[in-house]
């Protein structure tokens, strides 16, 4: 990867980190209701994978999906406006933090029932095959999803139908509040299950954007060529707790410290420095991202609340919510 491309990925990761920080601050100010599941620390997976995908590929994410929405073309302004219940939000303030979706750019949704979207991604991949395109579909999910029935049903179906779909596990060691290792029969909750379905199961440093990009590029290329699905387990770590109500005090201090030192932004910065990119250039990228987010926060704050009548639209394809004729 050349320095210009890596610098762009770095800046995108900084933009996501800054957006997550803004979401956190806005929540503390009482401007974001409900909950958020921040993905700070997971940026390299979304950005690296997106760099390896085509614009017309499909992505399905979880309730921890801010980073995927942003990496797949949603702007910080429309995401933050959605979190702040504004009419200008990505989903018209009908979705909220857990459902960020930008269908126009192939970001086909964030799903808050654990594992539910894996069969959907298989279906989107099936559709691509039926339509004769060489699009691929990617489902991002957490380690906790690997013990849900839908995970196993989706993997088996994708394997027997040889669908162009990638299952990317963001293994951040914790299934909500509980260590995944304490409730899972195998050491690598995703990759170790792949052999049972006869598909490749690989692991990658999920905090290294270049490694993620390369791994996804290889597996997506394979899927695009008709060689079927694969499972990628990306090791990463949450900087925050599971959700806003979780201070994550259950995590050993030494573990937290070790992972915070393995920050995806620092790793990318180190690679850029090695490639000869100056400190000034990196700082300028940081500033640009910060400025975009600062302006996004202001724009979202000044956006109007949704018209209450919007609660009664969009149930059906004709825009209505009528249940009688």
């Amino acid at each position: 990867m050349d320095s210009a491309e890596l610098l762009a990925l770095y800046e995108q990761m900084v933009l996501i980190r800054r957006t997550e920080k803004a979401a956190h601050d806005l929540f503390l100010q009482g401007l974001v209701k409900g909950t958020t599941h921040l993905a700070a620390g997971h940026e390299a997976i979304a950005v690296g994978a997106s760099a390896a995908l085509r614009a017309d590929d499909y992505v399905f994410a979880t309730y921890r999906g801010h980073h995927h929405a942003l990496a797949r073309g949603a702007t910080p302004e429309e995401c933050l406006a959605e979190l702040m219940s504004r009419a200008t939000g990505l989903c018209g303030a009908k979705g909220g933090s857990m459902h960020l979706t930008k269908a126009a750019t192939g970001m086909l949704g964030s799903y808050a029932i654990v594992g539910a979207h894996l069969p959907m991604a298989a279906g989107a991949a099936w559709s691509a095959r039926l339509r004769g395109t060489d699009q691929v579909a990617v489902a991002f999910f957490g380690d906790g999803a690997t013990n849900i029935g839908a995970f196993h049903e989706a993997l088996n179906l994708a394997a027997v139908w040889k669908l162009p779909v990638l299952f990317v596990c963001e293994n951040n060691l914790y299934m909500e509040y509980t260590p995944i290792a304490s409730v899972t029969a195998v050491a690598r909750p995703a990759a170790d299950r792949a052999p049972a379905y006869g598909i490749p199961g690989e692991t990658v440093d999920g905090n290294d954007v270049v490694a993620v990009r390369d791994a996804v590029a290889a597996l997506a290329g394979r899927a695009r060529a008709g060689d079927g699905p694969a499972l990628l387990e990306a090791a990463t770590y949450r900087h925050f707790g599971h959700s806003r109500s979780d201070p994550a005090t259950y995590r050993p201090a030494e573990e937290v410290e070790r992972w915070l030192k393995h920050d995806p932004l620092d790793i990318a910065r180190g690679r850029l420095t090695e490639l000869g990119v100056s400190e000034e250039t990196l700082t300028a990228a940081d500033e640009r991202a910060l400025d975009v987010v600062r302006r996004a926060v202001e724009a979202a704050k000044s956006a109007p609340a949704p018209d209450p009548e919007q609660a009664l639209t969009d149930v059906w394809a004709d825009g209505s919510a009528a249940w009688r004729t």
């Binding site: 499909y58 009908k94 979207h117 069969p119 099936w126 825009g319 009688r324 004729t325």
Partner: protein, 326 residues
């Protein structure tokens, strides 16, 4: 085409007509391919359309409906079969949380034009886990359209409307009707969803029924006619959209209402029909309303026990007699 067609043949014919018309229509489900479906409701499809459009799946209800959803979101019109409606519970997340909500919670960005077909209801002695009438389960979820045809012609016409709909439709095919016969409809026969039919006219009482309860209501009406009671029978055809205007118009003629539903009384669709009548048509009534519905017990196995639990012609006749004497 033959002069008569069975309900089960009508299912396959209805799907085949749409598959011929639109290359985006594909089928998936357990045993639907070469085997032609356990109820033979997909017989002939695999032969005509091949394995690229008629896909046998593993026994994986979540994968079936989840994959149908993903395909529907990306340009296909999948028709998914869940063999017995009892098994909808195995993929209930998709029917309750995913399919009906994704358009809404994305602010209208996504369309899910799919059909989930399933064999519904009792009468064949399959026991408690293969005999339920579950249309009321779907009725509790905003965002699902619900079709439940009673005749072969309606199967074909409503299948066309369901597959062409840009909204998700749960299509209940009644097991007790599979062998019933009727006239095959003409080419391009489409029955708009949400249009009830008055299938027998009468001035004394309105019987509102759905699917296998339509012939039950019609047989009851024939018996009542011998006693001089003229019952009008309304086949609702769909629960969502719900055609209350046909029910209220019938009630304006008859002033008495009985709903005949197979699902349990508790939470059954008849309660919704009756509540709308109470709300908007109270002045049309000359008597209380009555609901003939399933008992609130799991479906038992033996015929004698099952008959005790689900509506029968005798129960409908007795209820109407009481009501007309009111």
């Amino acid at each position: 085409m033959a002069d008569v067609i069975t309900y089960r043949e009508a299912v396959a014919e209805g799907i085949a007509r749409e598959m011929r018309r639109d290359a985006a229509v594909v089928c998936l489900g357990e045993d639907i391919g070469e085997a032609g479906g356990v109820f033979k409701t997909t017989a002939g499809l695999f032969k005509e359309f091949g394995p690229e459009r008629v896909w046998d799946t593993p026994i994986s209800e979540q994968a079936i409906v989840g994959a149908a959803m993903g395909a529907a979101m990306t340009g296909m019109r999948p028709v998914a079969e869940i063999m017995f409606s009892d098994f909808l519970a195995c993929c209930w997340d998709y029917l309750a949380n995913e399919i009906p909500k994704v358009r809404y919670m994305t602010g209208g960005q996504v369309t899910v034009p799919l059909v989930v077909r399933t064999a519904n209801g009792g009468g064949l002695g399959f026991g408690a886990q293969h005999s339920q009438a579950t249309e009321n389960w779907a009725l509790t979820v905003p965002g699902l359209q619900i079709a439940a045809p009673a005749t072969p012609a309606d199967v074909i016409g409503m299948m066309a409307a369901a597959i062409r709909s840009d909204d998700p439709v749960v299509f209940f095919e009644h097991k007790g009707l599979l062998a019933s016969k009727g006239s095959p409809p003409p080419p391009d026969h489409v029955v708009e969803l949400g249009r009830a039919a008055v299938v027998r006219e009468g001035a004394d009482v309105t019987l509102v029924a759905l699917a296998a309860m339509v012939p039950v209501a019609l047989r009851a009406a024939a018996r009542l006619a011998e006693e001089g009671i003229a019952a009008e029978v309304v086949d609702l055809r769909c629960l969502v959209p719900l055609d209350m205007s046909t029910v209220l118009a019938s009630l304006a003629r008859t002033s008495r209402l009985v709903t005949v539903e197979e699902n349990p009384y508790q939470g059954g669709w008849g309660a919704t029909v009756v509540s709308v009548v109470a709300d908007e048509g109270f002045g049309l009534l000359d008597a209380p309303v009555r609901r003939v519905a399933g008992e609130c017990v799991p479906l038992p196995f033996a015929d004698a026990l099952e008959e005790r639990v689900i509506p029968t012609v005798d129960k409908v006749v007795a209820t109407v007699r009481d009501l007309t004497a009111y």
